[in-house]
């Protein structure tokens, strides 16, 4: 097992209103089989024993699906590995002596809570505007009543894989949420169940997205590169189509 030593420059900020700054820590010996978050755990255990406040960072499932973790490592959300959340990034991808600059996701719509933790409730607010099919529990038709072509179900799932981590916003030079919204709109627009509310959904979700202070899409593709689930920007194109259709052709 290989041991490496790293220099960590971590953004420390006690609260949303206080002023933050970078603080430099030596990682101590890190085995390359550790995950990135386990490396932070090791640092935090040491800080606690020294009586210092540990670095606050969001994490939960640690298997890359809950979408809770995420920081910007040397300018890249979730770090250098493609299609990998921070919790699934392993230290074997770093070299002895590397310096890692660890910053929180930055966007006007994601307010900083503490250290590396940001408030992503804006995403929930967007979903509340129409990221659902309005069916009540019960009284639904048999699951096989409407056949759905495999490629359609698969494409819908490609979009629905979004874990809502916010890396797309963090990566976008304009802090735009178009990939997140595009993924949800695509997921439902591709399925027959999503058709009745298709136009209403596109208009309402885009309106909310704009109100929340996200930036505008510049088709720069940084979001796609940083997305731990590899959500494609074809979903943004679909959102553009859906919005056009809803804005100019629907009666909504």
């Amino acid at each position: 097992m290989t041991i490496i030593h790293l220099t960590l420059k971590i953004w420390r900020q006690t609260g949303p209103e206080s002023k933050g700054s970078f603080k430099t820590y030596e990682s101590g010996p890190i085995t390359t089989a550790m995950s990135f978050l386990e490396m932070l755990d090791v640092l935090n255990e040491r800080l606690i024993l020294n009586g210092e406040e540990p670095v606050a960072f969001d994490h939960d499932c640690r298997e890359g699906i809950c979408g809770m973790c995420g920081s910007v490592i040397n300018g890249t959300p979730h770090g250098p590995e493609k299609k990998t959340t921070l919790c699934q990034l392993h230290m074997r991808h770093f070299k002895d002596g590397d310096t890692l600059v660890i910053e929180p996701f930055r966007s006007r719509a994601f307010k900083l809570v503490k250290d590396l933790i940001v408030d992503r409730s804006a995403f929930d607010a967007i979903i509340a505007e129409g990221g659902y099919v309005s069916v009540n529990t019960g009284g639904t038709p048999d699951a096989n009543a409407i056949p759905i072509p495999t490629f359609m179900a698969e494409q819908a799932l490609d979009a629905a894989e979004c874990i809502g981590c916010g890396a797309c916003v963090a990566a976008c030079p304009n802090a735009s949420a178009m990939l997140f919204v595009g993924a949800k709109i695509s997921h439902l627009a591709l399925l027959p169940q999503g058709q009745p509310e298709r136009s209403k959904r596109a208009l309402a979700m885009v309106k909310k997205m704009d109100e929340l202070g996200f930036g505008n899409c510049g088709n720069e593709k940084y979001c796609e590169k940083s997305c731990p689930k590899g959500i494609s920007i074809s979903n943004i194109a679909r959102l553009n189509r859906e919005f056009m259709r809803a804005a100019f052709c629907s009666e909504e």
Partner: protein, 637 residues
């Protein structure tokens, strides 16, 4: 304490219908007068919140994550069972019911499990209508796959992320109610105490995890959907924040804890590789459909797998269980892996692993087909271990995964505290002593979408509800207790971190109350708990204050509860001297080393009642009556 299961009378197949007909309904105009608190926003919590909101109740939903879309149900990979019989392979509600009871080694209630099997079909309809993109055949109809413990294909799936897709469905239904004003969300809030007034659950005390504020919320009923307690073992497949705190607080306020020793150890997880390790990652059981489990036949054979010729490989599951082969239930697969490793046939650096080999399936179906089926699982494995399962076999080892035990609930899913309902993994109800794969999602959604919304109205219509506000002295008392406890945690200023204690507890439980248990080990562990607890309250170190976001404090509170909880778990394991399902008492095994049940003595649910600080909890038994199926020794040969 009286354990009244309130199972409706009449034939098994008619009980649920009869219950729904005989229960008192609440006028739609009156529903909006009721406030319901839901704690937890996984599958059970989100689906309950959504449905209760749709019905017109006012719901307050709490979760510890930053968003209700992150409950750990999201990590379920393999699928969800339903008795649709779309494959025409002989499935039926009765078969799903039977498989689940048998899989649980006959330690679950017939009536609950039959209801679960009945509802399973509605769940699939509901989820498809919500836009859950299940896998489909080329003709456009839903696809199924088979899973451990069943000989039919009844599992619906969405690649390896079924839990995620189902949770997003439930979450979106709930967000619709948030928009409609029927559900109010309280993310990043942790339940610290249950408030019981006049014998009824009437509210909770929470800690706002951002500001540290201790808040109180009154309601007409409290629903706990806070998941299982697998993290008592420190290393488990649970999320880092999964905890026993909410159910433990409820226990201390009078809710009985049932079968706490029933902990499922999942056979296919990525093996442990270091002391710093924070969690274990599960590889879906569906992998056993195409993967073959083996170890070298020779003890201490350290050759790389590719160099071990076919005759020197021990495909022990296939040999021992010819009819189920690699698809035996989880407990059987786990125990056999442990047995092989105990014989020093384990592989990998630690010797605590067995191979799960896809070479045959790749030869038979081609690499592309296997990648299409398990691609994301293979990627996950490769990310963590740096090895490609297509090129060399996976190494796997069992890990703590799911807890069948939980708060005791009756047929209405109500605990022994009236007005306190418990859903999903947090209750004990449907899986007996072992849960079958793809049944957890089914149970969480059955409880949340269909059972609770039907049973809660009978509680409201049958009990006298006095108006209560948070100014009631019971709230003040609960707030003071909570604040005092936090203050105590902060003021110890010792030398050990919460994780350090957690690791010690976890190891103790894993060694003595894990895959195999015996009286001596359990007594030893029980004896060491008081010391651990004392050390914890003497030598703990928590930095920072209680007045802002403090993750160390959060963890400390949870670890404190796990330490207390461990006692009940071990007591339960001690008192159940039979082996059943996941609970393997070494004293009780057949000549072939299979679990041996003792139906005459232990065909009951063990429910533990809190007796006060420092007192041994009292055991109550709810006898399990089997009228419809014949109890048999499980055999997967």
């Amino acid at each position: 304490m009286q354990l009244d299961h309130r199972i409706p009378s009449g034939p098994l197949t008619e009980k649920w219908d009869r219950f729904r007909f005989e229960t008192n309904l609440i006028n739609p105009a009156n529903k909006r007068k009721f406030e319901i608190i839901v704690v937890g926003a996984g599958l059970a919590g989100a689906s309950a919140s959504a449905t209760l909101g749709e019905l017109g109740y006012n719901v307050k939903t709490f979760c510890i994550q930053d968003s209700p879309r992150r409950g750990h149900s999201i990590a379920a990979q393999g699928g969800i069972n339903a008795a649709k019989n779309y494959q025409n392979d002989g499935d039926s509600i009765w078969r799903l019911f039977y498989d689940t009871i048998k899989g649980g080694d006959f330690r679950a209630r017939e009536a609950n499990v039959y209801r679960l099997a009945q509802i399973s079909n509605q769940i699939i309809d509901q989820c498809v209508a919500q836009g859950v993109p299940f896998a489909r055949e080329y003709g456009g109809l839903l696809a199924n796959r088979s899973f451990g413990g069943a000989q039919v294909s009844r599992t619906f799936y969405a690649r390896g992320q079924t839990g995620q897709q189902l949770l997003l469905g439930a979450y979106s239904a709930m967000m619709r109610q948030v928009k409609a004003g029927k559900v109010t969300l309280h993310p990043r809030s942790e339940m610290m105490d249950l408030v019981v007034i006049n014998g009824q659950a009437r509210g909770i005390v929470t800690r706002n995890l951002i500001t540290g504020a201790i808040e109180s919320h009154a309601a007409d009923a409290v629903v706990l959907a806070t998941g299982g307690y697998g993290n008592a073992y420190y290393l488990s497949t649970n999320a880092m924040a999964s905890n026993v705190t909410a159910t433990w607080r409820a226990y201390k306020r009078g809710a009985a804890f049932a079968n706490p020793c029933f902990v499922q150890i999942h056979p296919t997880c990525i093996p442990v590789h270091g002391t710093y390790q924070s969690k274990l990652t599960l590889m879906s059981e569906s992998l056993r459909n195409d993967g073959r489990v083996w170890v070298p036949t020779r003890i201490g054979d350290k050759r790389p797998p590719a160099e071990i010729p076919e005759p020197e490989r021990d495909y022990y599951l296939e040999q021992k269980y010819p009819s189920f082969g690699n698809l035996v239930p989880r407990d059987v697969a786990s125990r056999n892996a442990k047995e092989k490793c105990d014989q020093s046939k384990g592989v990998g650096d630690t010797g605590l692993a067995v191979y799960l080999d896809f070479a045959d399936a790749i030869n038979r179906l081609g690499e592309a087909a296997i990648r299409q089926k398990y691609g994301n699982l293979f990627d996950m494995y490769e990310k963590i271990t740096g090895q490609d399962p297509v090129k060399e076999p996976m190494t796997i080892y069992p890990a703590v995964h799911y807890t069948m035990g939980g708060l005791w609930v009756d047929y209405h899913l109500m605990s022994t505290v009236p007005g306190l309902f418990v859903l999903g993994e947090a209750n004990f109800s449907d899986h007996g002593a072992n849960r079958l794969g793809a049944s957890a999602l089914m149970q969480g959604l059955a409880d949340g979408y269909f059972v609770l919304p039907a049973t809660i109205s009978s509680h409201f219509s049958e009990s006298a509800m006095v108006p209560i506000t948070t100014s009631h002295p019971a709230f003040t008392e609960a707030i003071d207790t909570t604040k005092g406890r936090i203050q105590r945690l902060l003021s110890i200023n010792g030398k050990r971190t919460p994780d350090d204690f957690h690791r010690e507890l976890g190891l103790l439980l894993w060694d003595h109350c894990g895959m195999a248990r015996n009286e001596a080990g359990l007594k030893l562990a029980l004896g060491r708990l008081p010391e651990l607890k004392e050390n914890f309250w003497y030598d703990l170190k928590v930095t920072g204050s209680g007045a802002d976001l403090n993750q160390t404090l959060e963890r400390a509170g949870r670890v404190a509860d796990f330490i207390e909880f461990a006692e009940v778990m071990i007591l339960d394991a001690l008192s159940r001297q039979e082996s059943c399902g996941c609970h393997f008492r070494e004293e009780s095994q057949t000549a072939e080393h299979e679990a041996k049940r003792m139906d005459d003595t232990y065909s009951h649910v063990s429910a533990w009642q809190y007796q006060g600080e420092g007192q041994t909890p009292q055991l109550h038994k709810e006898p399990l009556v089997f009228e419809n199926i014949q109890l048999s020794q499980r055999s997967y040969k």
